[in-house]
């Protein structure tokens, strides 16, 4: 056992970080939220060129995967830079498309970045139908119901999310039946893992930006960050994120349902806590839409309930532990 990121993982993260830092992702995210997708698509192509989507696609369909650890490493960076678009949904679609016909037809374009996918995941508890993220931007719209996996023919309008960079759509009923028994539970694990990693990245960005802010913002003649009340809240934020990180990476290694659910719950709680702390420590400027912090603040809230609320994930942890497990 050697529970430590390999040098290749760290180099991969560093190269994504450098590319995204240079790419003005905040500006791209703002345009995306207005329904202007050109820069977002260009960024998407570069992320695909770096190999990110190929990590979710099997080699048989022109991918490199599935490689959950690499995927988790990548999604932390995508979250740190507030990259917009149906990122989680695209890798989830790759996990859903397992029938050879549809897989051969749709997966190579997902791996290469030529197309992006979204997924509406209707489980038994859905009352009014699930939203598909960025249904207007996606080329491949998948609808998962207990009856199977369909390629939706379109979508019904776009609703805003409380995260301005996320746009929600309901997929039209009907469409081509791709599979009667898609690997929905396995795909849900991919979705939860990618969301957890993205949330961890969002939380890390919130903490990083807040630490920088309280280091330069002064009140009463000293930096706000020298007050113990502020320091302790930021220390707790760091601790929550640093203990979510090994859960995310560990879940990527095992892909056990309880591990993935634990990672999702704790990364999303940590990121949400980071958002609350970031807003409080920034004061009123953090409450403005103009200031870039808002991109991460609202995303932390949205990711918290995407692909399983913290309580649903906790229930999954307990359910998996109902049987004795060996450690």
């Amino acid at each position: 056992m050697r529970f430590l990121l390999d040098p290749e993982h760290r180099a991969f993260a560093a190269s994504l970080d450098a590319m995204l830092t240079a790419a003005d992702t905040p500006g791209t995210a703002r345009e995306w939220g207005r329904g202007e997708h050109a820069r977002g698509r260009a960024l998407w192509a570069r992320i695909a060129d770096a190999g990110v989507f190929a990590l979710a696609v099997p080699e048989a369909y022109e991918g490199l995967g599935p490689r959950p650890v690499d995927l988790a490493v990548a999604f932390v960076e995508l979250g740190r830079h507030a990259v917009p678009g149906p990122l989680v949904e695209t890798v989830t679609a790759a996990a859903l498309l397992r029938e050879p016909g549809p897989a051969k037809r749709l997966l190579p374009a997902l791996a290469s970045g030529a197309s992006m996918a979204t997924v509406a995941y209707e489980d038994a508890s859905s009352e009014e139908g699930a939203f598909a993220l960025d249904g207007d931007a996606a080329d491949v719209r998948l609808s998962v119901t207990p009856a199977g996996l369909r390629l939706a023919p379109g979508y019904d309008g776009v609703r805003p999310s409380l995260d301005p960079a996320r746009r929600l759509a309901r997929l039209s009923a009907g469409g081509e039946l791709l599979s009667v028994g898609p690997p929905a539970p396995r795909a849900l694990l991919t979705a939860r893992l990618a969301t957890a990693a993205q949330a961890l990245g969002v939380g890390l960005a919130l903490l990083e930006r807040t630490v920088a802010y309280v280091g330069r913002r002064t009140q009463f003649g000293v930096p706000v960050g020298s007050f113990q009340a502020v320091k302790h809240r930021l220390a707790d934020t760091r601790i929550a994120l640093e203990f979510a990180r090994p859960l995310v990476l560990g879940a990527a290694v095992t892909m056990a349902p309880a591990d993935v659910a634990a990672a999702k719950a704790s990364a999303c709680e940590a990121a949400y806590g980071a958002a609350r702390t970031a807003l409080q420590a920034h004061g009123a400027i953090g409450y403005t839409a103009e200031y870039d912090l808002s991109l991460w603040l609202t995303k932390a809230r949205a990711l918290r309930t995407a692909w399983g609320t913290p309580d649903e994930c906790r229930a999954a942890v307990l359910a998996a532990r109902a049987r004795p497990v060996s450690r």
């Binding site: 050697r2 903490l207 320091k231 930021l234 203990f243 560990g250 634990a262 450690r327």
Partner: protein
Amino acid sequence: MDLTLTREEEAFREEARAWLAAHVPRTALPSLETAEGFAAHRAWEAELAADRWSVVNWPARYGGRDAGLVRWLLFEEEYWAADAPGRVGQNGIGLLAPTLLAHGTEEQRARVLPPMATGEVVWAQAWSEPEAGSDLASLRSRAVRAEGGWLLSGQKTWSSRAAFADRAFGLFRSDPTAPKPHQGLLYVMFGLRAPGVTVRPVGRLDGEPTFAELFLDEVFVPDEDVIGEPGDGWRIAMSTAADERGLTLRSPGRFLAAADRLHALWRAKGGPPETAGRVADALIGARAYQLFTYAAAARTRAGERLGPESSMNKVFWSELDIALHETALDLLGARGEAADTAWARRYVFALAGPIYAGTNEIQRDIVAERLLGLPKGRR
């Protein structure tokens, strides 16, 4: 990135599990915080040591197995899962031993470590003083040069195990003229039955008496019992403190076992939905701490030193411990109040976690200043 055990690690785990299954006492030993329990636990240390299970990560020549941190963690997981007794030798094993291995002389290691491994000599920590707790560097107990050694005088307090332990290790001010409070300190080992030592047990919140204050009146210690150079005590002690908070004080096995017990209790109560989230959080927290510690062990093995990130561990496990035991007592309802149950005893023990080994406020300051780079300010 790998969580599969090697064949050797798997074999080690199996060997530990089998040994524990054959040796762990069927009925719990009396509390190690009493004279009777202390003796019983000392005998348990000897039993562990006889088959070299008391200090698996130490070098073999001092009674260990050269097992390394990962196998130590596996042993600890098996140890606590087997509900084996608490470790009366822990202060010495977890704090003094790493210090001696890093800073002691070979003569000191050969003399001190083997009887520590067998429980023949049990050690108490003598760091805190009435005016020096969180502000440890302000301590005032003195060490004055004497022929062939030093004379210790002053008062130490909150010394865990000191009521029944044999020897203690601690810091004393050897150079009162040093310009800064953390300079001019001596790190020294001394006997708790030596002439000039008075031990006064202090009842703790749980009523147990092994906690003690120590009064020292010109207690002689020979030079051979000084660790490192006189004046260098602070640096030596702090390197041990990082180890204490970082890895060796509370292994994840303890929390994994406790979370499993909590989950079993919850299920036995019919799985009440209102506590489900808290039970899940205990399982998640224990898993997080396990994986965090595996990562720390891997970093240590790769040659990195555990620095201020150790402070994150200490805050995390101490709060996890309290939350987990609070949930158990709440599940037990009014019966949870009864003080003679294992859950109640462990709850009261957990309450001390955020206080000892450096309060959590101090740990948060360390995280904020040394990991996040925030400016120092008034405490």
